[in-house]
């Protein structure tokens, strides 16, 4: 069983989570703990369940058994044992505790960059629009887009859109930030600007769980790396250990070898 790398109580506790789509098991009793301030990167071949796991954390996907807690509170279920779902209102409140950045950005096309950020602040956090606007401008400046506050998503490049996506998530002051292959849909030359933002957030102590194919970034920015295969955690540890060429984990070695062959 994976444990957190230090002794502080875990912010996120995933315990024996399993999920099947029909006859196909996508998650097999996955357990993982993430401490406050940690950056945990999940790698693995496609179909290994990484994205599904991430989406279970904010209950965009439900799961069949197990438990996911943030700060000790069960996320999706009122009671993990009876699997009684939280009410819509409760669930929304729980989801506001996590931020998520999507592979396909999913910015709201009818709202400006600032509007995208302000929506959650006004509707969920109940802030006035002036205050929300100030917060939005602060975070846009932070991701280097202060001058784009009033642009619509369609007027922004992919990299800019994704930086707005990050700002939208962190402006809610989530306890934990979930990043789902956030650079996969970007042209190669735009990846850097997005990763730079993520890195600076990590340096500020933001707790993050990130699914990515950017190995170099995973190695440099993560506290720990989780390698998933066939719906389970196959290896977990500090980057140096997991990415070591001489690992004895057969599946991990194959994955890394294939990865190096195609990416380096």
């Amino acid at each position: 069983m994976a444990t957190s790398s230090n002794n502080s109580p875990a912010l996120l506790e995933i315990a024996e989570v399993s999920k099947s789509f029909g006859p196909v098991a996508v998650l097999r009793s996955v357990s993982l703990q993430v401490a406050k301030g940690e950056v945990v990167t999940i790698i693995g071949p496609s179909g290994s369940g990484k994205t599904t796991l991430l989406r279970c954390v904010n209950f965009l996907e439900s799961y069949d058994s197990g438990s996911i807690r943030i700060d000790g509170k069960e996320v999706g279920y009122r009671d993990a044992a009876t699997r009684q779902r939280r009410s819509e209102r409760d669930l929304a409140a729980m989801r506001a505790e996590t931020g998520m950045v999507f592979q396909s950005f999913n910015l709201f096309p009818h709202l400006t960059a600032a509007g995208n950020i302000m929506l959650g602040l006004t509707k969920v956090r109940g802030k006035g629009s002036a205050e929300a606007r100030a917060i939005a401008e602060h975070w846009l400046a932070r991701v280097g887009l202060a001058h784009k506050a009033d642009s619509l998503p369609a007027e922004l490049s992919g990299g800019q859109q994704q930086r707005v996506g990050i700002a939208r998530a962190v402006a809610m002051e989530p306890k934990i930030l979930l990043l789902d292959e956030i650079t996969s849909a970007l042209d190669p030359e735009l990846v850097g600007e997005v990763l730079a933002v993520v890195k600076s957030l990590a340096e500020d102590g933001m707790t993050m769980v990130m699914v990515t194919h950017e190995m170099a970034f995973a190695r440099d920015a993560s506290s720990r790396i989780v390698f998933m295969a066939d719906g389970g955690v196959s290896a977990v540890g500090p980057p140096k250990e997991v990415l070591a060429a001489e690992t004895t984990n057969e599946r991990l070695r194959t994955f890394l070898a294939r990865f190096r062959a195609s990416h380096f």
């Binding site: 819509e88 998520m100 396909s104 999913n106 709201f108 009818h110 959650g120 969920v124």
Partner: protein
């Protein structure tokens, strides 16, 4: 010939006003009913979804004329007496409502799933997701087909002439009955319908541009 037509113009204008009034009623009433039922079709409980689906597929599967006769002659038979004007408006509204239901369904279905997910991820409740994220976007997709369909309502309104309502179509027929100038009057009538509908479709193109996501 020309003097006879000029003499008939005020009468035609009255008919034209009825055509516009019927069209306006149908468009507004079907918009309200269609949006409510359309949202019911997408988000409602299963029995409601089924009811709306059957309603829409049935109504869209029969000619408007049959629907209109059914309503006009059928309602009194079961004890419901409506003025012919309102029976006609009801029938045309039912027909248009079924179309609006499909526009709504299509518009909502065209919003990518990621939009709901992003809205969920920032903690919006179901109702907030609909009002702040889904509907504003669906509205823009709903608008073009709906506005195109407004011309259908104007054209469809000509059928009320068959129930003895003096709309533009009926006015044209009555003037022909008195003057025997069939060809000029039909052409004049056609040109009036054409002018209204062409103006409407022009306005729709303008509106579509106005509501595009990219500003000029």
């Amino acid at each position: 010939m020309l003097s006879q037509i000029l003499y008939a113009l005020p009468f035609l204008a009255e008919g034209f006003a009825v055509t516009l009034w019927v069209s306006l009623l149908v468009v507004v009433l079907s918009l309200i009913a269609g949006v409510l039922l359309g949202v019911g079709l997408v988000y409602g409980p299963a029995p409601l979804r089924w009811a709306v689906r059957i309603f829409s597929d049935t109504i869209r599967g029969i000619p408007i004329l049959v629907l209109m006769f059914f309503v006009y002659y059928g309602l009194p038979a079961v004890g419901l007496h409506l003025q012919s004007f309102w029976a006609a408006v009801l029938a045309l509204t039912l027909f248009k409502t079924a179309q609006v239901v499909e526009y709504v369904r299509g518009a909502v279905a065209s919003i990518p799933k990621g939009q709901s997910e992003a809205a969920m991820a920032i903690g919006l409740t179901f109702r907030q997701r609909l009002t702040s994220v889904i509907f504003p976007q669906a509205f823009r997709r709903f608008l073009p087909p709906w506005i195109n369909g407004v011309t259908d309502a104007v054209k469809g309104s000509a059928l009320v002439s068959l129930l003895g309502i003096t709309d533009l179509m009926q006015a044209v027929n009555q003037v022909i009955g008195r003057t025997y100038e069939a060809m000029p009057l039909y052409i004049l009538g056609a040109l009036i319908y054409f002018a209204v509908n062409y103006a409407l479709s022009y306005a729709s193109r303008m509106l579509e541009r106005r509501f595009a996501f990219i500003r000029d």
